[in-house]
Symmetry: C2
Subunit: 425 residues, 2 copies
């Protein structure tokens, strides 16, 4: 019996085989039915959203770890993220049972269905959490190597620290936006290669970065590290991340303190947070780590996930091209290592913090996760029908998608998309 016939493995709602949101997924998000609302927690199922406030109101979360929480009454997922694994497991079981083909409670009550289920096409998705701090890692060896080769040549591509620790920096939480938000081309200070002085104006090398991000669940008190063996307990789920980047601004500003205005004009994330419980079946081995990490970063077993990733660029003329295919499993540093490293000095993480992976580039040129790499610093323009691209142009729409392929179903992330608006006049 597979997922299409077993009534405990399918929903009473029709879900297409290529839908990102079958009953095996059940990602969490925040939606609103109209502009006056502030936000309601929901779970995606097929083309619908299940309203978790409604489920909570009719007593659908009457389990030991959920009975007394008001997390489902909130405007963001932060309080739910804070509850931890037992509560997440119970909530997932409740929602999965409610939506199963063989469970009549919701299925056979039209009035309740009317209240609890709303079409995704009729809602607006909001940011899933109030993001306290947003951290961006740099965990793809292929990406770090590509960038290193372009900047310093093949002999010194990777910095000496790279194989020893998951390099990261703090990004900007205020400018994390939800998929669908247009992105205005930033102005910035840049200096051309042979110019004496810098100038200020619209960025001429606007790029995307194909990333994913983890939302932190329960946090840690300041001064108390999280051992890598416990890291998974602090990780709630994942989203797609597009870390928009102004390469010309970055090149001029980033020495010695790292990227700042080159990144903080916008970072887009997909609205549905796929819980790690839904990704368990897609666990796989990551790259071998050599030299072996120091003990505080050592993990056992399969720590990667087989998540297929695609990048589409749609020009202003409406031509849509897939420009990259990559996979989450290419990442050198895994998410448990990222989280444990982050807290290894006692830095306190909080529920709803976002840890992004950094650009996820694969080993082949068609799997690179940025235009900087795909067009190799402008030297190999991409051909998109009649047009060429080395960086993003005004009117371009950039979309990332990702999914795990199961047997007859997909655990998908949906998409994160954004269109480039011209710079302010």
């Amino acid at each position: 019996m597979n997922s299409t016939t077993d009534p405990t493995l399918r929903s009473f709602l029709d879900v297409a085989p290529d839908s990102p949101f079958p009953i095996q997924n059940l990602p969490y998000g925040v939606f609103r039915r109209d502009e006056d609302e502030t936000g309601t927690l929901g779970v995606a199922i097929g083309d619908y959203v299940l309203d978790l406030k409604v489920v909570d109101d009719f007593g659908g979360f009457d389990t030991p770890a959920l009975r007394d929480t008001d997390a489902f009454q909130r405007r963001t997922l932060n309080d739910f993220m804070a509850l931890g694994k037992t509560a997440w497991d119970e909530a997932r079981a409740c929602v999965q049972r409610l939506l199963r083909a063989d469970e009549p409670f919701l299925r056979d009550h039209p009035q309740l269905r009317e209240m609890a289920l709303v079409r995704q096409s009729q809602v607006e998705m909001l940011l899933p959490a109030a993001i306290g701090d947003y951290t961006d890692f740099y965990s793809s060896k292929e990406h770090a190597t590509n960038v290193g080769v372009m900047l310093r040549g093949p002999d010194n591509a990777l910095q000496p620290n790279w194989l020893h620790l998951p390099v990261a920096y703090h990004g900007r939480s205020s400018s994390v936006v939800v998929s669908g938000t247009d992105v205005r081309r930033p102005c910035g200070q840049t200096r051309a290669d042979n110019a004496e002085a810098p100038t200020f104006g619209p960025s001429r090398s606007l790029d995307f970065e194909l990333e994913m991000g983890c939302f932190v669940g329960p946090g840690n008190p300041l001064g108390v590290p999280i051992p890598v063996s416990r890291a998974a307990d602090h990780l709630f789920g994942m989203v797609l991340v597009n870390d928009w980047s102004a390469r010309d601004v970055q090149r001029w500003e980033y020495v010695p303190l790292g990227p700042f205005l080159a990144k903080n004009f916008a970072t887009s994330i997909s609205p549905w947070v796929v819980p790690f419980a839904a990704l368990e079946s897609f666990r796989c081995a990551g790259p071998a780590q050599q030299p072996p990490p120091l003990p505080y970063l050592r993990t056992a077993g399969d720590q990667a996930f087989d998540i297929q990733l695609e990048v589409f660029l749609e020009t202003a003329a409406g031509d849509r091209h897939r420009i990259s295919r990559s996979n989450f499993k290419f990442l050198y540093w895994n998410v448990c290592q990222q989280l444990a490293h982050h807290a290894s000095n006692g830095c306190n993480l909080r529920p709803g913090d976002l840890l992004a992976t950094g650009t996820i580039s694969g080993p082949t040129p068609d799997s690179y996760g940025s235009l900087l790499e795909l067009a190799w610093k402008g030297t190999k323009p991409l051909t998109l029908g009649k047009e060429k691209r080395v960086f993003l142009e005004d009117g371009d729409r950039l979309t990332l998608t990702g999914w795990c392929q199961g047997s007859g179903y997909r655990v998908g992330f949906g998409e994160v998309t954004g269109r480039i608006l011209p710079a302010e006049a």
Copy 2:
């Protein structure tokens, strides 16, 4: 007539001439009377705190811009910071009048005084705002030069971008703590100069950084820059900042994305936010800027403030030594330039965001703002009585103070202090 005789320029409360909090100051903070409370807005006056919730409850803010706000009923200053200059001016006038020697309303009502005034020694100070994003600039030319000389030699001390833009990076908002919080020595990954491989353990080069920080008032929408000519409208007030730094961790991790775990284990701030209105009398010229900044960073008039800064190190044995004297006016990039640069790409700032200046070093060795510089990378140990220091040791207490010297009064920032606890076993 000066401030000691003019009843409109002094309070009915006794305020010592060297108190940081005379009626000319009136900084804002958040306090609680006991541990069960969540936080109440207050203003410091002499040895007392004026409870702004009480003032609000008895109608003390009945002015056009304040009549309808509930900002004084909140647990943090964020909503008050968001109100903007007109509201700040009205609030300051209300509080100043209430506390004046010639105003009987509070002075002559013992019951009201009992409710509205509480001794600072009887309250605990909390963080003044929920800090959404914390940004750290690098705006002292002396500091950047000193660090550059140590790393790259005198000929290439300043990076090529430094004189053209206020370099900055995003810090960690979760680990910003209020003065008095002990700081645990962080563990981290470091690599000794001639070592093959890195090791993990307690930092051996724990340092302080003498900084100040601005709280953002009204924010800007994403995508809409703030012109430098309007920057002052978005700046609420200032605090002292100690940006604790683990130099050995920093040296190994910071290439190419900047400081991360070397900084985010703790950043301490003073609890009282001195509004810019209280600093107006101490405006002065900053350093000449050569080359002239690009137009988007060009400011006119006096943009610095004459704020005297001191650093004290108290050993575990209880010996207290002043180890540095500096001044805010040494900063090359002013706070309006910092804010305008930050928003120049459309990055959205929010009320309560904190923009720190970076280490404020002066021109002479006794005015350097970090142990890295004071002991010149360990080569010139500081003598503290019988002890020597190149970096901070367990049990050391580091305290920053700052004030503007008026005629017969001081507009002070109080202090930011923290003691080093040994690393986790």
